[in-house]
């Protein structure tokens, strides 16, 4: 493509003398069209970044519930996957076979397999590829048999094909895995071994050992302050022409011609970009608000928390039922403790892994995210809570507000007891002394029962909404 565009440019140079005949106004229009094209590329890269983050987070939600076919569909046809020491599987079909070998498909009673996708460092490149470093923090259990903590780091690659982002390379470097009963200072398990029943297509391409050994997972990027290399294919040759810029020039050219006929074209292009940029700002605002929700919840700031809801908003936590409107929401929060008073009480509710979709009109948004909580009162065994949110946000008079807050809990587990013998599967449910305005909208049971919280989105690659394999 580079050669191709160069040839075009040379050919066009023959006509350069005719360009000089343009009036000052025409040249101004052309200059603005150029700026518009530059801005469009910038906005495209920001959209790509969000899409790549969503993709990895969606992968995480699928694999938590063993939705192997859905997860495999997120990969490019020639993609590779390498998890820990299990070797490399090549191609979408082999990836799906491999994933299916990891456990029976679909959510399973007695199985906890939460893999939190955290701390993305994403770089999107102009040639339609991207790289991402992530942390994975996992909680795995088989009821009555085992339970583990795990940690790892991904260095992944993504590729945009026909306008859709897919996983090109998924590489999880395992860091630590320990049985809950021991802790990582007592028992640290080695890397997984390649399967004998379903051997990998290629051996592991890097040698390292799990903790207690030390291994620094290679970074795809240089130091962001002192370095220049963001890991892209063109990093050493900034300014060279690649496919996307070549295409960009063609579209600028057609834009420029239209403007000459009709000054409306520039305006239409700017309005389109205003819309797309607005949706990007909306996504940032919704993620920010969900995060602030977590900070207020963590310190029993009930009035602050109530304030971020829409006046007709609802809260529905742990099958306690629906509380509608500020007064009821505020009353619901009393169930979790006294406002602002937390002597000896820990109530952290970490919010992360958001998958956000803003409606085309920019007035509503859906958010799936997860919570991991560290709770308890000093003197008693602390508890972990895991759960999924499926929330709805609305924009009123330009301000985003929480319209529907729904928490589907996965477990409440003692810090020392863990999940192995956790038998309580019923969520807290309705409190008669402080009842909801409406009954729960969704019935669910927690681990060790199996439950798949419904998704607000379809598979971003296939469009499939099948949740059962």
């Amino acid at each position: 493509m580079k050669k191709y565009s160069l040839i075009i440019s040379c050919f066009l140079l023959l006509d350069v003398s005719q360009a000089i005949a343009q009036t000052e106004a025409e040249l101004e229009l052309i200059r603005i069209a150029g700026e518009i094209a530059g801005l469009e590329l910038e906005i495209q890269l920001l959209e790509d970044e969000n899409d790549v983050e969503n993709l990895q987070r969606i992968f995480g939600f699928y694999t938590d519930k063993h939705q192997w076919a859905q997860a495999a569909d997120l990969f490019a046809s020639d993609a590779t996957i390498e998890l820990g020491g299990s070797g490399v599987y090549v191609g979408k079909e082999n990836i799906q076979d491999y994933l299916q070998s990891l456990g029976e498909a679909g959510p399973q009673e007695g199985i906890l397999d939460d893999h939190m996708q955290l701390q993305p460092v994403i770089h999107v490149y102009r040639n339609g590829t991207a790289k991402g470093r992530w942390h994975q923090f996992s909680q795995e259990a088989e009821f009555g048999v085992s339970h583990h903590w795990g940690a790892g780091t991904y260095e992944n690659e993504y590729v945009k094909q026909d306008g859709v982002w897919k996983i090109g390379k998924l590489h999880l470097y395992s860091t630590m895995r320990t049985p809950v009963d021991d802790g990582w200072h007592v028992t640290a398990l080695p890397r997984t071994q390649p399967s004998e029943e379903l051997p990998p297509d290629l051996p592991s391409n890097v040698e390292y050992e799990n903790y207690p050994a030390v291994y620094v997972v290679p970074f795809h990027y240089d130091n962001p302050v002192t370095g220049n290399d963001e890991g892209g294919p063109e990093a050493s040759a900034v300014g060279t022409v690649d496919i996307s810029t070549t295409l960009g020039i063609v579209s600028i050219a057609s834009l420029g011609i239209r403007q000459s006929d009709n000054g409306e074209a520039n305006l239409a292009a700017i309005e389109e970009l205003e819309h797309r940029l607005g949706l990007l700002e909306d996504a940032d605002e919704v993620e920010r608000l969900q995060t602030i929700y977590g900070y207020y919840l963590a310190r029993n700031q009930w009035d602050e928390l109530t304030g971020i809801f829409a006046p007709d908003g609802t809260i529905e936590i742990a099958m306690r039922g629906v509380y509608r409107g500020a007064e009821s929401i505020r009353r619901n929060l009393d169930l979790y403790g006294v406002q602002d008073e937390l002597p000896g009480q820990l109530h952290n509710h970490m919010q992360y892994q958001p998958v956000i979709h803003i409606a085309e009109d920019g007035q509503t948004a859906n958010l799936r995210s997860r919570a991991f909580s560290m709770m308890g009162t000093f003197g008693n065994q602390g508890r972990f809570m895991g759960g999924t949110y499926e929330n709805i946000y609305v924009k009123r008079d330009g301000v985003w507000m929480l319209y529907k807050d729904q928490q589907i809990n996965t477990y409440f587990a003692g810090t020392d007891d863990g999940w192995i013998n956790l038998s309580r599967s019923a969520p807290p449910g309705i409190t008669e002394a402080n009842p909801p305005d409406e009954p729960p909208t969704m019935n669910f049971e927690m681990y060790p029962k199996a439950f798949l919280p419904p998704y607000h989105y379809e598979n971003p690659v296939t469009g499939s909404t099948d949740v059962v394999e």
């Binding site: 006509d15 106004a25 820990l346 991991f372 000093f378 301000v399």
Partner: protein, 257 residues
């Protein structure tokens, strides 16, 4: 750091392409046309400028998130030199109740002391610091920003001790010559407790004091927060984005989740 093609490049290419693509589409220049378009052009340019500024702010916010997350990955591995390079020359760092260290050199020395005099982890050390929950607020001029974050910590020495840790940051960032840097790290330690018994049965292992007794800070702890099981609310750099609700009562005794 360059991600976009310089405008001049576009302009040249554009001029070339437009010039030969369809000459018949170019109207003859007339004074009337120029006058009409002059008004339109200034409006277009103004809207375009506003859009460019807004896009720049989103990119700034994303850059700051990348920066803080990069900080976390370096901290995980005790890569102090890489970590210190993320700071401005006059940056400050204050962890837990250890006091404040000012300037890159002092911060570097402090981090090396924290790391036992070396860079990188020893075999058996675990130092995971997950950087979660960013709330980034960019200044109006786009040249500085504040960010609240929360860290979950998995800390340990094999054969000795494992610990859970957690606490929020209130950090500051500045943009210097187009590059975002960390100008202030303030991390509040909510808990650092042994794995066995967790926060339910253990007080904070170090009361938030790390190495300040052997390596005194430039300024002693700048606030009066204590350590677990004491609790506190580090101030927010941002107001409620929607607006606080004023409840008529302070509530009743809760039953907990």
């Amino acid at each position: 750091m360059m991600r976009f093609i310089p405008t001049t490049f576009y302009l040249t290419a554009l001029t070339l392409l437009v010039a030969c693509s369809d000459q018949s589409a170019m109207p003859e220049a007339g004074s009337e046309l120029v006058a009409d378009k002059a008004i339109e052009l200034s409006e277009l340019q103004a809207r375009l400028n506003a859009l460019q500024a807004r896009a720049g702010r989103i990119k700034d916010s994303n850059d700051i998130k990348r920066l803080q997350r990069a900080y976390g990955y370096y901290l995980d591995e005790a890569l102090w030199d890489e970590l210190v390079d993320l700071f401005t020359e006059d940056a400050t760092v204050e962890y837990a109740r250890d006091g404040l260290y000012r300037g890159k050199n002092r911060i570097r020395d402090y981090l090396y002391v924290l790391g036992g005099g070396q860079q990188g982890l020893n075999e058996g050390q675990l130092n995971e610091h997950y950087q979660l929950m960013p709330v980034i607020t960019l200044a109006e001029d786009g040249l500085s920003a504040k960010g609240r974050w929360r860290a979950i910590i998995l800390n340990g020495d094999f054969g000795e001790v494992a610990m859970w840790g957690e606490g929020p940051y209130e950090n500051e960032y500045v943009k210097q010559e187009g590059v975002w840097k960390i100008s202030k790290v303030r991390w509040y330690q909510t808990i650092l407790v042994p794995y066995e018994g967790g926060w339910g049965l253990n007080e904070d292992v170090n009361k938030g004091i790390y190495v300040s007794s052997e390596f005194p800070p430039d300024v002693s702890q700048t606030d009066d927060f204590g350590s677990w099981p004491e609790t506190f609310l580090p101030p927010f750099h941002f107001d409620n984005p929607v607006g606080r609700y004023e409840s008529p009562t302070s509530g009743t005794e809760g039953e907990g989740l």
